[in-house]
């Protein structure tokens, strides 16, 4: 089947679901359509849209009349029109002004002729083509917007005496405005600018001397190459990308829990920038490494970068999973295409040609994934090792006789059955004490079981202690749940409605004879005779207080579970066991009657076998039917395969990224973005405004969710996608000059800025795509070798009068150090920097358990003399909801949102942080100690401090004042001042 015919199949399916008006004869339809377009629509636009349209931003009474869906779903009072029945249509009642509350339009009544237009239209079936696919929409925003136009290669203008293409473009505009560029900055300034820009660090005094000593041709270019070759480059530029995609090491939101595996993605980004991976490949890896580059699975950390409201996985899955997909859509489209797709969630984008359909097509791309920890093979060759065991597991699940009854598996099964022997023998544990924390009355029955009565609490925890006489060594403990006539529905639980129960956690502790300190007895695994759907025995051991084991709908009879100890437990005389049965689910899902027993039999004998296997084993080996042999073989194969796969998986790595759902969710277009108002089903796709790109994806298997992401990755990485290429070159330009050619790097649409130099932007985009082949390092080299980049930053009055904003780049923009540059610089100048790369993040706080899921972080208590304190800030743990106050004061962004550019503020609170924080004072002291080791003379020390911190000699004025200050207050106090100077904080 060709791709095209598959696609039309999809279209037909969609159309069939949509069109009611198909039944209308084509001819009549044409007439009705004309009536609508010529009379009805203009009338609605003139008289109603003012209060009932997205365009006006008003939806009085919740009603919009600018789409078919608007009136068919209707507002607060329900559908506004009943097609074919004017008398039942609220809209018609309103224009008839029959009822004061519903008289519309409120001020001026429609004329009789106008009312008739509407009545005729409704009576004829209210044909409204606006909601239909393939028919003209009401005025749509311009698809000819500059950023959507195809990229056309045009050469740079020829300007005499200018060789660099960037300068040629800039020169033309400057000349037109009568502004001249500034001369090159001195070599120190150029070196500082480059090193801070590419590495986020200051140059050393030695590197400055070296650079100044090499005035020859190409020295600057050699410096650029050397800087780009250094791994410090990736560390700096990774930070920009992590800001852009709002990556952090915790969830944010209500339960702001750590993501201890997120750092692998941060390391991935650093590594990819250093490796200079071509941009299209960088896109494909992050969106669909599983399809394109399985050796880079860690890249899928991109999908999980943003915040997560964990209610999406718990109490409110519908609302928050929807908003979480919204976050994925926004992040992807903003960071790769600088498009604000999210603006089309509740209505078609007001300004850009992005329809609501487009938006939900993008949501459908992510309908098969959730954010979460993701295991992956760091080495894709491991996947091959897994294959035979996966095949065996599948055979076991399917009870595939040809495989399982083959000789080798039969041998294995028989060996297992022989090894196992008979069933385990159990010794009932006679309790000495038993307590209900929920306040129930517990009674010990003759058979050693405990029966609960009296008060029936919502949640429970039973704690039972016993001094076991038998066995001497225990391999497993069994929990029996027993029915009893006193319990609701005979139990074994106390849930009044059905007799169910939920066991959330099971712990077992050993008190050696005479000891008051218990030892926890770790549980290896648990098995049960029956599991309620979704409430399996494994939940008892998962550590999650919200999950549990239940037995519904098999109440009223006995059930049991066996917990295997990790190590056999030696029970010496006088030692006591304490067992705790936690039942925290609530609504009286608590145990009614139970009994505990121990065994010393082997784990194979003790564990609960599936019913078929139990039956088979009770039949003598030579009398077993084929089904019985198969049941045993399948069980053994499954055990063996699971063990092997677990062993292989332990070699896997984890990154916070995405988890796949078994089948992608169905995503509907939502009327006004409201999950209560689903419209048609959305088909995976992207923005339709660029006709050269397919806007709805051809997928051979729509249930293969990876193919959806892969299709979007292809769409974004396409050479034909003008947004992608404009977006990235503009972003890079922004970081070098402090401002993009278009100054809204995440939005190249109408709400964004106008490009100051559109021809330059396009030329750069084409050059980056075709000449540089997507190499960012080549793009950096091109930009930083321009005269524009090398200019002085001083504000010249002559130029400022014409172009105060410096849009023409007649000077370089001075830029304040950001938090990372500031702190890494200080680490470097006082010799504390540790250039170790990668690994788990550094926590610049003392972490203690919080009240609930979110921990307490005390940043003030961090000790800056710790060995890990010298690591660069790219390696710090960024807690989304509890930011580092120092970094926050230095404008580290709130990573609840995408941050394409940072703000740079100046405030008294920031000054207090820079003047008084432990970080600054500790390092001022460090620097002073180092200086004193170099020289005993204070003037020497001050001069050396200037060389390190500002990469220059102090002037006479500075030297004398600072020396006097150092003599009065110490050298450390002097270093503190230097760390607060404007000259240190700004890169000219």
């Amino acid at each position: 089947m060709s791709e095209g015919s598959q696609y039309s199949h999809v279209i037909i399916a969609l159309m069939a679901a949509l069109t009611v008006s198909r039944v209308v004869a084509e001819e009549a339809k044409a007439g009705h359509l004309a009536h609508f377009n010529d009379k009805v629509l203009p009338l609605l636009q003139e008289k109603c849209f003012k209060c009932h349209s997205h365009e006006s931003g008003k939806m009085k009474g919740g009603l919009t009349l600018d789409s078919r869906a608007g009136w068919s779903v209707g507002g607060d009072s329900g559908p506004a029109i009943v097609p074919g029945d004017p008398d039942k249509s609220l809209l018609i009642k309103a224009v008839h002004r029959l009822d004061d509350d519903y008289a519309m339009p409120p001020k001026e009544a429609l004329t009789e002729a106008e009312v008739k237009i509407l009545v005729d239209w409704v009576r004829a079936g209210a044909l409204d083509p606006r909601g239909e696919k393939g028919t003209a929409k009401v005025e749509r925003p311009d698809t000819n917007w500059w950023s959507l136009r195809p990229l056309k290669p045009t050469g740079p203008p020829k300007v005499e005496g200018i060789n660099h293409p960037i300068d040629a473009f800039l020169s033309v505009k400057r000349q037109a405005s009568g502004v001249s560029p500034s001369p090159h900055a001195d070599r120190r300034t150029q070196l500082r600018r480059l090193t801070y820009g590419l590495h986020g660090l200051p140059p050393t005094w030695e590197s400055l001397k070296q650079f100044e000593a090499d005035p020859g041709d190409g020295a600057y270019e050699r410096l650029v190459d050397a800087l780009l070759d250094s791994p410090r480059y990736g560390e700096r530029w990774a930070r920009h990308w992590l800001d852009t995609i709002h990556f952090a090491d915790s969830h944010g939101c209500e339960h702001d829990m750590e993501r201890p595996n997120a750092w692998r993605f941060r390391d991935y980004v650093i590594e990819r920038f250093n490796a200079d991976v071509p941009w299209p490949r960088f896109i494909r890896e992050q969106l669909a490494a599983d399809v394109f580059h399985p050796e880079q699975m860690v890249a899928l950390g991109f999908i999980g970068a943003g915040p997560l409201e964990v209610s999406s996985k718990g109490t409110a899955p519908v609302t928050f999973a929807y908003l979480d997909r919204d976050d994925m859509v926004n992040q992807t489209m903003a960071s790769f295409a600088s498009a604000t797709a999210g603006c089309a969630r509740c209505h078609d984008h007001k300004f850009d040609p992005i329809s609501q359909d487009d938006y939900y097509a993008l949501q459908a791309v992510f309908a098969g994934v959730d954010k979460g920890d993701m295991k992956y093979d760091a080495d894709p060759r491991i996947a091959a090792k897994r294959k035979p065991w996966q095949a065996l597991l599948k055979a076991a699940e399917q009870k595939d006789a040809t495989i399982l009854l083959a000789a080798d598996h039969q041998r294995e099964a028989k060996a297992w059955a022989d090894r196992r022997g008979g069933d385990a023998s159990w010794d009932v544990l006679q309790p000495t004490t038993f307590v209900s924390t929920g306040g129930a009355e517990l009674k010990l029955l003759d058979d050693g079981s405990i029966l609960a009565g009296g008060n029936s609490p919502a949640t429970e925890n039973y704690v039972i202690t016993a001094e076991p006489k038998q066995p001497k060594t225990a391999t497993a403990i069994k929990l029996e749940l027993l029915p009893h006539e006193s319990l609701p529905h005979n139990g074994p639980g106390r849930q009044p409605g059905n007799g169910n129960l939920h066991l959330n956690a099971f712990t077992c502790q050993l008190f050696e004879a005479g000891s008051k300190e218990p030892v926890n007895l770790p549980i290896l695994s648990a098995s049960a005779d029956f599991n309620q759907e979704g409430w399996t025995i494994s939940h008892v051991l998962d550590g999650d207080p919200r999950t549990a084991w239940g037995i519904h709908p098999q109440e009223g009879k006995k059930h049991y579970a066996v917990f295997l100890f990790k190590e056999p437990v030696k029970l010496k005389p006088g030692s006591r066991l304490a067992v705790s049965l936690e039942q925290s689910h609530g609504t009286q899902h608590v145990i009614g009657r139970f009994r505990l027993s121990l065994t010393e039999s082997s784990p194979e004998q003790a564990q609960v076998l599936p019913p078929g296997v139990r039956d088979a084993l009770s039949t003598p080996a030579d009398q077993r039917s084929k089904e019985q042999q198969l049941a045993i073989a399948a069980h053994v194969a499954s055990e063996v395969a699971t063990a092997e796969l677990d062993a292989i998986s332990s070699a896997q790595q984890t990154v916070f990224g995405m988890n796949k759902k078994s089948v992608p969710l169905t995503v509907n277009v939502l009327n006004r973005g409201d999950i209560e108002q689903p419209l048609e089903v959305a088909h995976p796709g992207a923005i339709s405004a660029m006709s050269v790109l397919e806007s709805r994806f051809h997928l051979s298997d729509p249930n293969n969710e990876a193919s959806r992401r892969a299709a979007l990755a292809k769409w974004l990485a396409s050479a034909e996608n003008p947004l992608t290429w404009r977006s990235i070159v503009n972003r890079v330009w922004h970081y070098h000059f402090g401002r993009g050619i278009c100054d809204t790097p995440n939005d190249l649409g109408r709400m964004g800025g106008q490009p100051s130099h559109p021809e330059l932007l396009d030329w750069l985009a084409v050059w980056f795509r075709d000449e540089a082949k997507g190499s960012l390092k080549k793009l950096h080299r091109l930009i930083v070798t321009s005269d524009a980049y090398r200019q002085q930053s001083v504000i010249r009055e002559d130029a400022a009068r014409i172009d105060g904003d410096n849009r023409l780049l007649w000077r370089m923009n001075a830029m304040r150090l950001d938090g990372e540059q500031y702190r890494d610089s200080i680490r470097q100048v006082c010799g504390r920097i540790d250039l170790t790369m990668g690994g788990p993040g550094i926590k610049h706080f003392v972490q203690t358990k919080g009240v609930f899921m979110t921990p307490n972080l005390n940043y003030d208590a961090y000790d800056w003399s710790r060995p890990d304190a010298g690591r660069r800030d790219i390696y710090r743990v960024v807690w989304r909801g509890i930011p580092d106050p120092f970094m926050e004061a230095m404008d580290f962004p709130n990573l609840g949102l995408l941050t394409p550019k940072r703000t740079h503020t100046i405030s008294p609170l920031q000054s207090l942080v820079l003047f008084n924080s432990d970080f600054v004072l500790y390092h001022a002291d460090c620097l002073a100690r180092q200086l004193k080791q170099e020289s005993a003379a204070i003037s020497q020390c001050v001069a050396s401090a200037y060389r390190r911190v500002l990469q220059r000699e102090p002037g006479n004025f500075e030297l004398s004042r600072m020396q006097a200050y150092a003599e009065a207050h110490g050298l450390a106090a002097t270093c503190r001042l230097l760390f607060n100077t404007n000259e240190f904080l700004y890169v000219e």
């Binding site: 709002h246 944010g252 939101c253 209500e254 409201e309 209610s311 109490t315 409110a316 609302t319 999210g342 609530g586 609504t587 009286q588 809204t744 939005d747 930053s793 001083v794 009055e797 400022a800 009068r801 105060g804 904003d805 410096n806 001075a814 919080g850 009240v851 979110t854 307490n856 003030d860 004061a889 404008d891 962004p893 990573l895 609840g896 949102l897 740079h904 503020t905 100046i906 405030s907 008294p908 609170l909 920031q910 000054s911 003047f915 008084n916 924080s917 432990d918 004072l921 002291d925 500075e958 004042r961 600072m962 200050y965 009065a968 207050h969 110490g970 106090a973 001042l977 607060n980 404007n982």
Partner: protein
């Protein structure tokens, strides 16, 4: 009370407006935003005359039960024990829906206004005639975190600026020697979403809530002074150091005289020094009279903490802080207003910890004439179910809940809106956070539709695309 005016020569002024370094975030940011200028003819408002200049917001974390405090529901007494609630668990409920449950507390009418108040709030009951109630507040979710964000930022997810930040951004400071927006968290812990509930989101960092640790232990504001571990910092080293720093910075600025950012940074250290003088005085509660201390309950273990923070809130607004937020309760399911297990046992201690301090604060603000331009808000993130959770607790309910306000620009002793007979949903006068925020901004002389900032392609507002001023409660 006029904002600090920069003393700039004409030439400087021109250049600072036209090219103070890239990004144009220069001196203007030191004060407020460049886009919004409080207007003297509007009494410091932006778009119309302001009645309110300062705000204290009391936030009860966890979801205060309305039908056990201010929203008397006699119908529940008749329906007690009946299974009438939704069959399927609505989103955000944490457990299955139980039987209808009457309030275990006694309700009586109080004041001339005859407001019903339960006996968990005996002190607030005495001042109901000063309060303006919104009886039918509603939320879009039954989940704490998002609902707390809604009530503070207008959005369900993190990243957006809270009301205090918006007000700081729009109106700037009243005085330059104290932070404009101060947050006093419960010493037991941060609220849901940690600091995201008082984040400045995408607004510049100086509009962030300044968190004050007011437990009597450790420094109240981090970094206000250097730690004593560093003998070379503090005292004369600071006085001389700040002078020398200004000198060095001015010397450096000569190389780029038109760069206003350099000036701004010089000024920012001067303001920091002013703050070092003003803050310790503001934090010193020993300056309060014995009568005041007693009235707030500073002498009682139960009320001591909230009393201390309420007095500080008053001292701060008195001294020119614009917006103070006082939190009752940390996140999590216990030790706050999230009374899932047992309303009768869990609600009274929470109520007792805030009731007397709140009533004292209302009386104190009024007595000192601060209600002339101060607004006090008491609120929470959502209400609780009229059905039991388990047998005696109540689950989350965004359907309807109570907020009250007091102070300038409001009709005292009135109530707007009503919940339904069960107190499950709103019946009339439904009020979203958008409407509450629109009303507060309106009182401060701000049109909520005009206070916006473009962010990633959208003109963002505190009220999103919603919000109506609740005219009925305005004086």
């Amino acid at each position: 009370m006029t904002p600090l005016q920069p003393d700039l020569s004409c030439r400087r002024r021109f250049l600072s407006k036209s090219g103070g370094g890239f990004g144009a975030l220069a001196l203007g940011d030191l004060l407020a935003s460049e886009t919004f200028t409080p207007r003297p003819e509007f009494n410091g408002g932006l778009h119309h005359p302001a009645k309110v200049k300062r705000v204290i917001q009391l936030f009860m974390t966890g979801g205060v039960s309305p039908m056990d405090t201010f929203d008397y529901k006699p119908a529940l007494e008749k329906l007690h024990g009946q299974k009438l609630g939704p069959k399927n668990k609505p989103e955000g409920f944490t457990a299955a829906v139980g039987a209808m449950m009457k309030s275990p507390f006694e309700f009586r009418q109080h004041g001339n206004s005859g407001r019903w108040v339960s006996n968990v709030f005996p002190h607030q009951a005495e001042i109901v005639d000063e309060l303006t109630f919104l009886m039918a507040m509603t939320s879009k979710t039954n989940v704490h975190g998002p609902s707390t964000l809604m009530m503070n930022t207008g959005f369900l997810l993190t990243g957006f600026p809270c009301m205090g930040s918006w007000i700081s951004y729009g109106l700037g400071s009243l005085r330059d020697n104290l932070p404009t927006f101060v947050v006093l968290p419960d010493p037991k812990g941060l609220p849901y979403n940690a600091k995201a509930a008082f984040s400045s989101g995408f607004l510049p960092a100086q509009h962030q809530g300044t968190m004050i640790n007011f437990t009597g232990k450790g420094e109240a504001i981090s970094n206000l002074f250097p730690d004593k571990r560093y003998p070379f910092a503090g005292g004369a080293a600071d006085d001389d150091g700040l002078k020398l720093l200004a000198e060095l910075n001015r010397h450096h600025a000569e190389s780029d005289p038109a760069n206003s950012q350099l000036d701004s940074r010089i000024q920012s250290y001067e303001l920091a020094a002013k703050m070092q003088l003003a803050a310790p005085e503001a934090f010193d509660l020993s300056r309060e009279s014995e009568t005041t201390r007693k009235a707030y309950g500073l002498d009682n273990k139960v009320t001591e903490d909230f009393a201390r923070r309420c007095i500080l809130a008053r001292r701060l607004v008195e001294r020119g802080t614009r917006f103070v937020q006082v939190w009752s309760g940390p996140d999590g399911p216990v030790n706050n207003w999230d009374n899932h297990n047992n309303i009768e046992k869990e609600l009274p201690p929470m109520a007792a910890s805030v009731d007397q301090p709140i009533a004292a604060l209302v009386r104190d603000l009024k007595a000192r004439g601060l209600f002339d331009d101060t607004l006090l808000i008491w609120t929470t993130e959502f209400g609780r179910t009229p059905f039991a959770q388990g047998s005696v607790g109540r689950d989350h309910n965004g359907g309807t809940f109570v907020t009250w306000m007091a102070g300038a620009g409001l009709k005292p002793g009135v109530a707007y809106g009503e919940s339904d007979d069960w107190g499950y949903k709103t019946a009339s006068g439904k009020t979203y956070c958008y409407d509450l925020h629109a009303t507060i901004l309106h009182l401060m002389g701000i049109n909520h539709e005009k206070l916006s900032v473009r962010q990633n392609g959208i003109d963002r507002r505190l009220t999103d695309v919603h919000g109506h001023v609740v005219e009925d409660i305005l004086a």
